[in-house]
């Protein structure tokens, strides 16, 4: 434990609890002193602090001890009174204000880091003025009557030698009328030590007169008590001291050098001697003596058991009488006051044991008397005495607490004392490192008065900081509390200081409510002080306050903008919190040789374009083939290093702005920050072609670094965007920079203006971590900063393309005529145009002549010869690149118009990409070719669903029955059915019945379904054209008009339909060969009746292509039995022999064996049932719900069948009515797609009607091994029962 006297409290006590010397002087003395700019008191005060005296002291005990340090407090007699509270308050306020002003300069600096603050020593953390303030605060309760240490011990009477009748003046000075009221009314002892001092001003003349007066004084007042002090010995008043002792005593800021300028060193030492003598020779001995006297007195009256009993009894008796709040009045002469004086004197002479014993003695008395204030005062002194003795900490604390609560209990009069007591208590706790307890005490001291409590709270907060471990949360909280109170008293400087420290506490935490509060208020206060920069900096922290309520957000934003406006200048803030820039949304779109017709096109993945453009772009080797072109070679290398953009063409940057608040904010003047440096030394680097490193950055001259976009002299132009972000809204902004000259363009960042006042800047470079560049080429190794760097090259021609009128949504099958419009704004020509479409199924490139034609009339079938000419042009392969004719050049105002055919092929969403390749007319340009990429997102809605079902016509070879089902899948559209065409020479389609009869309305309403039947006939020319079917030129099919009235048919072999059909064929193709398939094109038109809907424009057609409809039945063979149906024969002569011919057709792609078995009798019932079973099996097996029930004539026969069978079955038992003659089984090898005839003969024995169906065809495919694998489902063999063939033989008459 350190010596208590060296602790701050010890020093304070040694400083404060010292003997008071009352000073009385005449006006002339003051006048003399005033020449030095100081008063008498001020002149003497510095010499009242004796640090190296050696005075022996003997108090109550016989053991003397020595005092080495001592201090006197000099007080004018007029000041010995209760200090005026109001004045004191004002004084305190001034202290605070003054220190606040001093600190103003520091406020501009950054607040210290909390980690730095923790661990600093107390003296570093605490502002020094706290001590001053605390001292002033303690002085507000000085000269209280309940304490004795402020009672004057001695009286210094000072008279000037110039005074007339100095002796009388001395007597007059200590006239009781003039003495302070406290001395007169008995609170203090007026009988005190008197010391007489004659002051002689040497400027007024020699000191002889003074010495004469001194002798006179000595004779009057006694030889020891009189002294002479000569001052102002210096003539010229030019004495200047480096360490002026008066400087600290003079509070105002007048230059301290002139203080005491008339006092030379002799005067100095004289004053010193006078004061030292006063202390050591007079005051200390006087006090010693008084202690001894009082001690004896106290011992006589109060010590010992008898005295104590007597005292107790006496006090008990007195108890009832006095009940005033302050207890009974005690005069200085009362025994209680005497004991207190004894204690205080002992304390001042540092005999703490004696002091403590006396305090203890008196404290019980006061307690019994209910003299609470005195009791508290004594308790307080006891606590201090315990502390100074360094005994019993608990006791000391208990006393202080007791004193404090007692003072607090007695109400307002004790408030000041309680504060002083608390401060001492705090110091005591601090001396013992009980900072946490000290903080609690500070908290208890802070009273009603905000300023007072502000200081106390701030001190409390520092205590929390100093406690081990530091309690930072409480530190911050108390700082905030203190700051609020400072603000209430308009001590803004102090408020800022506390909040600044609090900021460091909350920095980095997520307690956003508290943080916002602190930052917002500190910002406001800085603004009040006019330190707008810092104000804005703090306010910026608050802006991103999405967790706050809407009103708070509004308040924050409004105040912030006010502060910004008040500054009168535009602030530029890097990376502000508002609005939030979504850096991951950053996307750069630039056009080098790849240009885009729309933003959509730019968003398509590069790989898609690359795959599309693969066969259009000349390969890299061909581009470099001309080795003489060094420049192009170099540039190619540069391509890999950096991005290329073309002068005059904008580079677009997409970036998202997000408003985290609930209130709308307006953001204006959003623009990019760019740097463009021109390459002055292009030629040099070109000549030095071996250096692959691009050093242009260093070599180049930086032209423009500014973000100002106004000037025409600037080498680039920037676009500006104004947006208004609603609450919690996110807006994607597209910004553009258009370089005007060649060089290197660098996009540095983005800037904007928030609510017209704050300029925000965001540098892309600062966080590149998550950036993605849309058009990244092979840039794996290049640094990300290169992604925002562009080499600007000379301006090039650029094509702009547009397709109109491309519908965004269409119904499936919709066929339209579109126009591609290409423009070239530049003066340079382009050549060698090529075009490719990603989905040729949807878009086909037309013929130039189509431009002038009228749609859809141009598609109608014409009878004359020009038909074939038009069809002949289309020999190109699908998917191929379309090259525009050589002569085409696009330049200037006139656009190139080119027809396109659009057909909404399948329902769904489709992204259609079109690339147009073109080469520069100017060979010298860096980029040889460019690409125009167009992209459209289209939606195709389902319209008509057309399906076909084909089954072989059982009774006729090479003829098929086609059933067409059409369902209108739309919800509102009506379609007018126009025609059905089968594709291919070999097919001929015809209606089975007049269309009017089955479908009279001709238009298909929404949701309606239609089925109708057609007959399809194979003309047998398939072999000649089988390999040409894919070619559109052979689309010479046969058409059936499904329209009753109109007879115009559309030509399916015409340009767009044939093209689209070819694509459909490709896309619908199945693995199967197409020899046995047929394609249909179904054409309809939107019904003219509903003209209000969007697509009812009669200008377009709907074509539905259904390809590869298999004509195969269940078996690969079809056959036909041909022969007479009715015969007349005379059975009387002989039996009847009938020759039949069976024609078998192999429709499969493999050769097969067919064996025809005839059964002589229909005895095998299995055969009979088998013959009939297919009929019953077909309806169940066919999902379409229809089967090849023969129409009309056949139906009649089958209806008779049961009757016939019954009749026959009766015959079966007896005898076979007919027998097959000739071979019972014949076997033939049938080549694929071929027919063969087999002759058959049957013998009939009686007239009747016979069903010659008792034969069967067994077939077996000659499969090649490879072929067998692919078709698991295909049957390789099977047998077919015979068709019913009814032969009627009549008896010839």
């Amino acid at each position: 434990m350190v010596d208590p006297a060296t602790t701050p409290l010890g020093k304070m006590l040694l400083d404060e609890i010292t003997p008071v010397v009352m000073v009385l002087c005449t006006p002339l003395v003051e006048e003399s002193c005033g020449k030095n700019g100081i008063s008498l008191l001020q002149m003497l005060s510095p010499f009242c602090n004796f640090s190296n005296i050696d005075v022996p002291v003997r108090t109550a005990s016989d053991q003397p001890y020595r005092l080495h340090k001592f201090k006197l407090r000099l007080v004018y007699e007029s000041d010995i009174r209760h200090p005026n509270l109001e004045v004191a308050k004002e004084q305190l306020k001034q202290v605070i204000t003054r220190t606040g002003e001093k600190e103003l300069s520091e406020l501009g600096s950054d607040p210290p880091e909390i980690s730095d603050v923790v661990g600093r020593s107390e003296s570093e953390i605490l502002p020094s003025w706290f001590q001053l303030f605390n001292k002033e605060l303690m002085h507000t309760v000085s000269f209280s009557e309940h304490e004795a240490f402020d009672h004057p011990v001695a009286c210094l009477l000072v008279v000037s030698s110039e005074d007339e009748q100095p002796i009388n003046r001395f007597i007059d000075l200590f006239n009781t009328n003039k003495l302070p009221s406290l001395l007169n009314d008995g609170a203090m002892d007026p009988k005190i030590l008197k010391h007489y001092l004659l002051v002689h001003d040497n400027q007024d003349g020699p000191s002889e007169k003074a010495s004469k007066i001194l002798t006179e004084m000595r004779s009057t007042f006694g030889p020891n008590d009189c002294q002479l002090l000569c001052i102002n010995s210096s003539e010229d008043g030019r004495i200047e001291r480096q360490d002026n002792p008066w400087a600290s005593h003079k509070s105002d800021a007048s230059p301290s050098k002139h203080l005491g300028s008339f006092l030379n060193n002799d005067d100095f030492s004289e004053i010193k001697d006078v004061m030292q003598e006063l202390a050591s020779k007079h005051i200390i001995p006087y006090m010693e003596q008084k202690i001894r006297v009082l001690n004896q007195q106290v011992s006589a009256t109060r010590k010992g058991f008898r005295n104590q009993l007597k005292n107790l009894w006496w006090r008990k008796g007195k108890e009832e009488t006095s009940d005033s709040p302050n207890g009974p009045m005690y005069t200085f002469s009362s025994i209680e006051s005497q004991i207190r004086i004894l204690g205080d004197y002992a304390f001042m002479l540092r005999d703490y044991e004696l002091a403590l014993s006396n305090y203890r003695l008196i404290s019980t008395d006061y307690k019994l008397d209910k003299a609470w204030k005195r009791y508290a005062g004594v308790q307080e002194m006891m606590g201090l005495a315990y502390f100074m003795l360094d005994q019993s900490r608990k006791e000391a604390e208990y006393c202080m607490e007791n004193a404090f609560t007692t003072y607090a209990k007695i109400g307002s009069s004790g408030q000041q004392n309680a504060t002083r007591c608390g401060l001492w208590w705090v110091e005591m706790l601090k001396a013992r490192h009980q900072y946490k307890d000290a903080a609690t005490v500070y908290f208890r001291i802070c009273g009603e008065e905000p300023l007072h409590s502000a200081v106390m709270l701030e001190q409390a907060s520092y205590c929390y900081l100093l406690s081990k471990p530091p309690m930072l949360h409480k530190y911050g909280f108390h700082l905030v509390l203190s700051g609020d109170r400072y603000k209430k008293c308009d001590q803004i400087n102090h408020a800022i200081r506390t909040y600044r420290s609090a900021v460091s506490v909350y920095k980095g935490t997520t307690w956003s409510h508290i943080k916002d509060h602190v930052h917002f208020h500190i910002g406001q206060w800085y603004a009040v002080l006019g330190m707008h920069d810092i104000a804005v900096a703090h306010m910026l922290e608050v802006l991103d306050c999405s967790h706050q309520s809407k009103t708070t957000q509004e308040l924050f934003l409004r105040d912030f903008l006010q502060v910004v406006q008040k500054t009168g200048k535009t602030f530029e803030v890097v990376k502000p919190r508002l609005p939030i820039i979504n850096i991951s949304s950053l996307k750069v779109i630039f056009e080098d040789h790849r240009t885009y017709a729309s933003a959509e096109a730019a968003n398509v993945r590069e790989s898609l374009w690359r795959s599309l453009e693969e066969d259009m772009i000349p390969s890299l080797s061909t581009a470099r083939s001309n080795w003489l072109e060094l420049q192009s070679k170099l540039i190619t290398k540069k391509f890999e290093e950096s991005n290329i953009c073309v002068a005059g063409e904008p580079v677009k940057v997409d970036i998202e702005f997000k408003n985290p608040l609930q209130i709308p904010i307006s953001i204006s003047n959003i623009s990019l920050i760019c740097e463009l440096s021109t390459r002055s030394d292009e030629m040099e680097s070109d000549s030095n072609s071996s250096t692959t490193e691009l050093q242009n950055d260093e070599e180049s001259k930086l032209l423009t670094t500014t973000g100002e976009m106004n000037s025409d002299t600037s080498s680039f132009t920037l676009s500006e965007v104004d947006i208004s972000l609603g609450g919690a809204e996110t807006i994607l902004v597209q910004l553009m920079v258009t370089p005007k000259v060649e060089g290197i363009l660098k996009i540095v960042g983005v800037r904007w203006r928030l609510s017209g006042s704050l300029v925000g800047v965001y540098n892309f470079e600062s966080n590149l971590v998550k950036k993605k560049i849309a058009k990244g080429r092979r840039k794996v190794k290049s640094s990300p900063s290169n992604d925002l760097k562009f080499i600007v090259i000379k301006s090039l021609p650029k094509l702009e393309g547009l397709i109109h009128p491309l519908p965004e949504r269409a119904y499936a099958g919709d066929l339209r005529h579109l126009v591609l419009e290409l423009r070239n704004q530049s003066d340079f020509s382009v050549k060698n145009l090529k075009m490719k479409v990603s989905h040729p199924r949807f878009l086909s490139i037309g013929n130039r002549d189509d431009m002038t034609k009228e749609f859809p009339a141009c598609l109608q079938k014409m009878t004359n010869a020009e038909q074939s000419v038009a069809g002949g042009n289309f020999n190109k392969m699908p998917q191929a690149v379309f090259s525009f004719p050589e002569g085409i050049s696009i330049q200037g105002e006139t656009p190139l118009l080119w027809p396109l055919w659009y057909r909404a092929a399948v329902p769904g969403k489709i992204s259609l990409s079109i690339t147009i390749y073109y080469e520069m007319g100017d060979v010298s340009s860096v980029i040889k070719y460019r690409l125009l990429r167009m992209h459209y997102n289209l939606e195709v809605l389902p319209s008509l669903n057309v399906s076909f079902q084909i089954s072989p016509w059982s009774s006729r070879l090479q003829q098929y029955l086609v059933r067409m089902d059409v369902v209108n899948q739309t919800s509102s559209e009506n379609f007018q059915i126009h025609q059905l065409s089968s594709v291919g020479h070999q097919w001929e389609i015809s209606l089975l019945q007049p269309f009017d009869s089955i479908f009279p309305s001709e238009s298909l309403f929404a949701g309606q379904a239609l089925s109708c039947f057609f007959m399809l006939k194979n003309r047998g020319e398939s072999s000649t054209s089988s390999d040409d079917t894919s070619s559109p030129s052979c689309l010479l099919g046969s058409d059936v008009s499904l329209q009753g009235t109109a007879d115009t048919l559309f030509d399916i072999s015409g340009s767009p339909l044939a093209d689209f059909h070819a694509h459909e064929r490709l896309l619908q193709s199945v693995s199967q060969d197409d020899t046995n398939t047929v394609d249909f094109i179904f054409i309809s038109q939107p019904s003219e009746s509903d003209s209000d809907s969007g697509i009812s424009d009669p200008q377009h057609l709907f074509s539905h292509h259904t390809c590869h409809c298999s004509i195969l039945g269940k078996t690969p063979i079809t056959w036909l039995v041909d022969g007479p149906r009715t015969l007349h024969h005379n059975f009387n002569a002989s039996f009847c022999e009938v020759n039949l011919k069976m024609t078998i057709y192999n429709s499969s792609d493999a050769a097969m064996f067919v064996r025809v078995n005839t059964f002589d009798s229909p005895s095998s019932s299995g055969q009979t049932s088998e013959a009939t079973s297919p009929r019953s099996a077909v309806p169940s097996g066919n999902q379409a719900g229809w089967h090849d029930v023969p129409v009309l004539t056949d139906i009649k026969v089958t209806s008779q069948l049961p009757l016939n069978q019954v009749k026959r079955s009766s015959l079966l038992e007896s005898v076979s009515p007919f027998i097959w003659s000739g071979s019972s089984a014949s076997r033939v090898l049938l080549q694929p797609m071929s027919t063969t005839d087999i002759a058959m003969k049957v013998c009939l024995f009686s007239p009747g009607t016979y069903d010659l169906s008792n034969y069967a065809l067994n077939w077996k495919l000659l499969t090649i091994s490879g072929q067998g694998n692919e078709g698991e489902t295909r049957q390789s063999s099977g047998s077919c029962p015979g068709y019913p063939y009814f032969l009627t033989v009549l008896q010839a008459s």
Partner: protein, 143 residues
């Protein structure tokens, strides 16, 4: 009446703080909760004081302010629960019971696979559950 409940993460970061008072005193309650963390730290780091109750999650009365009483609770994962109440005579058993139920609610909330540990608890279910617990706290203490 419970004025405020809070969940504070092990780095003293607020995970959930909800006041149940009518007045606009969110800031004050934030400060109170924030301050009480010092006391929690003190309790946790002073094993000799909490010797017998070493494994006790309930920290008891942290400190009385002018109008409030602050209770604390520390989970095994060093997540702190703070309860600020305006009742001046609160039975310890009630508070313990409250914290137990609150802890259960918290566990359910952070068991949500979409909850990011160390981030604020935004679950609406949790908020509803807490408010029911808070309401029932008043009832149980009354009855």
């Amino acid at each position: 009446m419970i004025a405020c409940v809070a969940v504070v993460g092990h780095q003293n970061n607020p995970l959930y703080i909800q006041s149940f008072t009518e007045a606009d005193d969110a800031l004050k309650l934030h400060h109170i909760v924030h301050c009480s963390l010092d006391v929690v730290d003190e309790r946790v780091n002073n094993p000799k004081k909490s010797g017998p109750t070493l494994n006790e999650t309930f920290l008891g009365l942290l400190y009385p302010t002018e109008n409030y009483k602050v209770y604390g609770y520390l989970t095994n994962t060093k997540v702190k629960f703070i309860l600020v109440t305006t009742d001046l005579d609160v039975r310890d058993a009630d508070v313990r019971n409250f914290f137990r139920r609150f802890h259960a609610a918290y566990i359910d909330a952070v068991s949500n696979p979409f909850h990011v540990p160390g981030k604020k608890i935004t679950s609406r279910t949790f908020a509803e559950r807490v408010s029911t617990i808070v309401k029932s706290f008043g009832l149980s203490s009354a009855g």
